[in-house]
Assembly symmetry: C2
Homo-oligomer: 346 residues x 2
């Protein structure tokens, strides 16, 4: 399979849908009383984001419906049983993503997110917990408001609830791994599947569920699972390879903070003393030369190539999962997004 | 309306259903991998609780179906469209309750719950946040597994999601009230409605939704709303009137910690200097005589009578909401539970 759209068309497709999603968020999640709670709930959503997951959901719907992209209104998207509000499903997925970021930032004690203070820093711990909990409920409310049939809505909701459970399991594994020596690359990839990839899988497959197109549900789920894992590995790689100013944070901060990544898990199994690669635990105190040396050692161990090849393999698998879809522009763009996930530089 | 069951029969009805719910919890929420996450999720559920909300749900189902109580299996409860798993709905409600307790204890920095350490004390902050988030998803999963029709399940889910949103709003108001002088008893009751009563309302009305008995949905919702508010006011009263050893914590601890209750909100509007009633902020340091004096002053201000009368009025209204139900033992027990909520001493 070769790309039939160039990366510029992919960027435009993402941009255009991002705008649509940005317009929909205040409609689907208005700031009402008590204001502080809803302002905190909207804070990260309003701070930005590429809206990749809702974009994938909307493109999957367009490919399944086999309509020219951007030809149908997302609020009244055509299905055999009449129009449904596909945008509500897209916003639901973005809301789940935002809820997990708010709670993860508390757990990881992270101060910044999307260039602004984390919600528990901008507001306080209680408000951040509560904002996440509110978003959780709002995601379910939004997924229930598509106007799809009862049975399909139940299936979509069930998919969403299972996804949330798995995200919690993945986050729990991620925390647990911090204190476990013997983590394998397989363990790590299982954690990534749960923590990150299942939400891509839900985003890609839920339009097929809502439209009653059962044959597409599983392949699209697998597409999401594959590219979601590829996305996370690329995130791990970018931390080491992208200059700090482009990354928006210190390059190599995962090494400084001893965060486990596919690269460090692999390197440890190659006998690299990962903890001593960067002696300091203080992101402020580290210098570029130390990071350069660390990256060189990880390269020598073959760990960076291993990560890159794993990501590329997953993206390739994800693109092949799309072959069952009608051959149309939306499918080409879904392939293009798969490539984008590992070609992006930040 | 007069009671047709005595309080002993009510206690037995609660006890018997509590056992059923206790047996169902491990079935509907098994401890799987990652174990620590699920053990933390189950921790408070396993620590006890009266299971009042699921008991109300199960009794409402029995009254609507107009069957002798305990005559039908909750796992295959009869409806016009075939049997449904009413116990899954009951467990769902109890799981929501447990999730809110875990997150509330973090926000309120409470150390103990149900005689055991709060989840964030027994485990840690991250695990407690994540356990709550997991329960949240599991509650939705359980509510989706009743086997009711798609349309009814969607309505029940929608009710559950809205309820969760409102609980968050109520908790947000509760936190906000701590720093606001001008809270009225109406404000306070609105907060209680959102934070506490809507979950009783969901418990009482969801069986009618799942059984397709639309005429009963609204009256049962109102029943839950009324008795839920009565329950919370009684909680406020018990803190002042029940001896510490029976209460399981220091009597008057709400006064010591300057927690707003219907009683203190009323007293403040009567000109009582509520903050100075108990000079210390340390629950360990307070003596019984100080609490006695404070209670006497609140009694003189009419605040305790006001709370008692408000609770009694709400319970009376709640019982009247039941009049539309078939006249059967289950309905009598629902009335009895309403009375129990304000007659209980702990």
């Amino acid at each position: 399979m070769t790309d039939t759209v160039d990366s510029r068309a992919v960027m435009e497709a993402i941009e255009w849908r991002r705008e649509q999603v940005n317009d929909a968020i205040p409609e689907n999640l208005p700031v009402v009383e008590p204001k502080k709670l809803y302002e905190a709930s909207r804070y990260l959503l309003d701070a930005g984001g590429k809206r990749l997951r809702p974009t994938i959901l909307l493109l999957a719907a367009e490919s399944i419906a086999d309509v020219p992209t951007r030809s149908e209104p997302y609020r009244e998207f055509p299905t055999a049983e009449g129009p449904i509000d596909m945008m509500s499903a897209a916003v639901s997925i973005e809301i789940i993503q935002s809820f997990t970021l708010i709670h993860d930032d508390i757990m990881d004690d992270d101060d910044m997110r999307r260039g602004v203070p984390a919600v528990h820093r901008e507001f306080d711990l209680s408000t951040a917990i509560l904002a996440g909990d509110t978003l959780y409920a709002k995601a379910f409310e939004n997924m229930l408001e598509t106007g799809s049939t009862g049975d399909r809505s139940v299936r979509a909701l069930s998919e969403l609830a299972t996804t949330c459970t798995q995200i919690c399991e993945g986050q729990s594994m991620d925390i647990e791994f911090e204190t476990v020596e013997a983590v394998t690359t397989e363990d790590y990839l299982e954690m990534v599947e749960l923590k990150t990839a299942v939400l891509y899988a839900a985003a890609a497959s839920i339009p097929a569920i809502l439209m009653g197109e059962d044959d597409y549900v599983d392949p699209l789920y697998q597409y999401g699972l594959n590219i979601g894992r590829g996305f996370q590995i690329q995130d791990d790689l970018l931390d080491l390879t992208t200059p700090s100013e482009k990354l928006g944070k210190q390059r190599g901060s995962d090494l400084v903070e001893n965060k486990r990544t596919i690269i460090t898990v692999h390197a440890r199994h190659q006998g690299v003393d990962v903890e001593s690669l960067v002696p300091t635990d203080d992101v402020e105190a580290v210098d570029e030369a130390t990071i350069d040396d660390a990256v060189a050692e990880l390269e020598d161990a073959g760990s960076i190539d291993f990560a890159r090849e794993t990501a590329e393999g997953l993206i390739q698998d994800g693109k092949e999962n799309l072959e069952v879809l009608p051959d149309n522009e939306a499918r080409d763009l879904l392939e293009g997004i798969a490539d984008f996930l590992i070609e992006r530089e930040y």
